[in-house]
């Protein structure tokens, strides 16, 4: 790469890594696995950098690599699962009660990890990154009906495992 491209890549990585890490953390449930996943996505993006004309293209490319890698590769979550509550008190939550917020996070994290990788990816794409079903299908390289099916099953399981999300039945059912 030229110096200008190197600089552009460095800027992209340093500006967007944390956003990618946030999604990767939801996909993996673990800080280290999330870093591994984003590292892989960034490395593939670096290989393709000369073909990517704009930074937003680079981020879309990186996210696509990340989701494909997470769905297709085996990523082992057990160590993370063995450390309940890890990292959960470092940042404030949306509730005034830190203990309650921690319990909610632990419950949601465990529920997410109980989903299949594809279901987890669909949930993150639809309800964290706010993509449409069509966009999620394009991102994952599957049909829209697959996204709907996976989403429906995932939400059903989340409702069963996270009491706070039972009210989602009417608000955020499959659409």
């Amino acid at each position: 790469m030229t110096d200008a491209r190197d600089a552009a890549y460095a800027t992209f990585v340093r500006e967007r890594s944390h956003a990618l890490l946030r999604s990767a953390y939801l996909l993996t449930g673990d800080q280290h696995l999330a870093e591994d996943l984003v590292q892989e996505a960034l490395a593939r993006t670096h290989r393709a950098w000369s073909r990517l004309e704009r930074p937003d293209h680079a981020e879309a490319y990186a996210r696509k690599v990340m989701y494909h890698a997470q769905v297709s590769l085996w990523r082992r979550p057990k160590v993370a699962e063995a450390l309940p509550g890890e990292n959960l008190e470092r940042h404030g939550g949306s509730t005034d009660d830190p203990a309650e917020a921690t319990v909610r996070r632990v419950a949601l994290r465990r529920a997410l990890l109980s989903l299949s990788p594809k279901q987890r990816a669909v949930v993150v794409l639809r309800y964290f990154e706010d993509h449409t079903e069509v966009e999620a299908a394009q991102m994952l390289g599957v049909s829209v009906s697959t996204v709907k099916t996976q989403c429906s099953r995932a939400l059903e399981r989340l409702r069963g495992l996270v009491p706070d999300l039972r009210s989602l039945a009417d608000i955020e059912g499959p659409r």
């Binding site: 490395a43 297709s72 990292n87 994290r109 949930v123 706010d130 989602l168």
Partner: protein, 386 residues
């Protein structure tokens, strides 16, 4: 768009848990490694092409696979002391040399299983099981349990909290905890740290057939001499995870970052893709669990099984030459399958609520089919050893 809502807010709150991390240097190192691998593959392909041109084989209108293969196959590697009788016992099958750069040894094809109707076991007693069967609790603690011919399962390792690698003789277990590679005797005793700086627990420590080395993921995947602590990185062309040794120590099977299975001689600079077939949903079978004595067959977890727990045991046996699954003459669906270093295959299956263990020798003769103790019902099959 779904817009903001309770689930969005909850996910966003959970995502706040991740710590910021500067991944610039790490991504560049990984990119360079990918580049070296691509270069190695390109070079290997060029060498093969030049070899074909030089040999004049390109002029042959329809060369048979045998003749073309013999024209370019390299000399076989020295087998390790762990080389098994499986290959020697298969005197009737012809050697099948490989054309591909990652796999250059001559390999006899193993026999395939007989039809279910002819699969009468030599014994239906668990007491006839010659080896040790290891199971792991699928929960967070991951307790390791051993079953022997006495039929009484015993916990041999409590709460390793990660996947384990059981040595081929069943006497030691390796596992990773907080980046440290630990080894402990299955007979008891304190775990010993044998390496610090294991970067990923996606690579379960894989024992060499002689039990002297462990394939782990350090900065890059490498082979650790357990006695000396020396780590030898794998060639950069072998880019993947979930590496597993064949029982004779000459072959590695692993998954690439794009979820393909590849096979490589241990000294090769790059691997050979296992063909993707509809049997395994294309590239779905990307987690090798165990390899037979020669690298001819591998047990894998296929996506069709569809379990949410991606750490689930193998449910199929693949032919690494064709990518096709091998029909196993066992009762009911397969819920676990492992090769030992000698090429014996232990299959766990369930039918009408009964779980059975079926042990096949390398020639796929059914040695034992016995009912599994009920106490093991909720555990995962992880290894079968001497």
């Amino acid at each position: 768009m779904t817009g903001a809502g309770p689930l969005h807010d909850s996910l966003s709150d959970l995502a706040d848990s991740v710590l910021p991390m500067d991944l610039y240097e790490r991504s560049l190192r990984r990119s360079r490694r990918i580049g070296r691998r691509e270069a190695a593959v390109g070079t290997g392909a060029a060498v093969v092409a030049l070899g074909l041109l030089g040999s004049g084989l390109w002029q042959l209108p329809q060369p048979s696979s045998d003749s073309s293969a013999r024209g370019v196959a390299a000399a076989p590697l020295d087998p390790s002391p762990g080389a098994t009788a499986a290959a020697q016992g298969d005197a009737g099958s012809a050697p099948v040399p490989s054309l591909t750069p990652g796999r250059t040894t001559f390999r006899p094809h193993r026999p395939r299983p007989q039809a279910p109707a002819s699969s009468t076991p030599r014994s239906t007693s668990l007491a006839a099981l010659p080896g040790q069967v290891f199971y792991q609790d699928a929960g967070t603690k991951g307790d390791l349990v051993r079953l022997t011919r006495d039929g009484d399962p015993r916990t041999v390792l409590s709460a390793p909290s990660s996947a384990v690698g059981v040595s081929p003789d069943g006497t030691r277990v390796a596992y990773i905890t907080e980046g440290q590679l630990m080894v402990v005797d299955t007979a008891g005793g304190e775990p010993q740290q044998v390496y610090a700086g294991t970067t990923s627990d996606a690579q379960v420590p894989a024992w060499s057939p002689d039990g002297g080395r462990l394939l782990i993921d350090a900065t890059d995947p490498g082979v650790l001499d357990v006695a000396t602590g020396a780590l030898t990185p794998l060639p950069s062309g072998l880019d993947g995870e979930h590496f597993r040794w064949s029982g004779d120590g000459t072959t590695l099977v692993y998954a690439t970052p794009s979820c393909r299975l590849e096979v490589a001689d241990v000294n090769a600079q790059s691997g050979t893709p296992v063909p993707a077939t509809e049997d395994t949903g294309g590239a779905a079978a990307c987690r090798p669990v165990s390899v037979d004595s020669t690298g001819d067959l591998v047990t894998v977890r296929t996506e069709q099984a569809g379990a949410a727990d991606t750490d689930a045991p193998a449910d199929a046996v693949l032919d690494t030459s064709t990518g096709e699954t091998v029909d196993l003459p066992v009762p009911g669906p397969v819920i676990g399958a492992v090769f030992d270093a000698e090429g014996n295959l232990l299959v766990r299956s369930v039918q009408r609520g009964r779980t059975r263990l079926s042990l096949f020798d390398p020639g796929f003769t059914l040695l034992v089919r016995a009912k599994e103790p009920a106490a093991l019902k909720d555990l995962d099959l992880v290894a079968y050893t001497r």
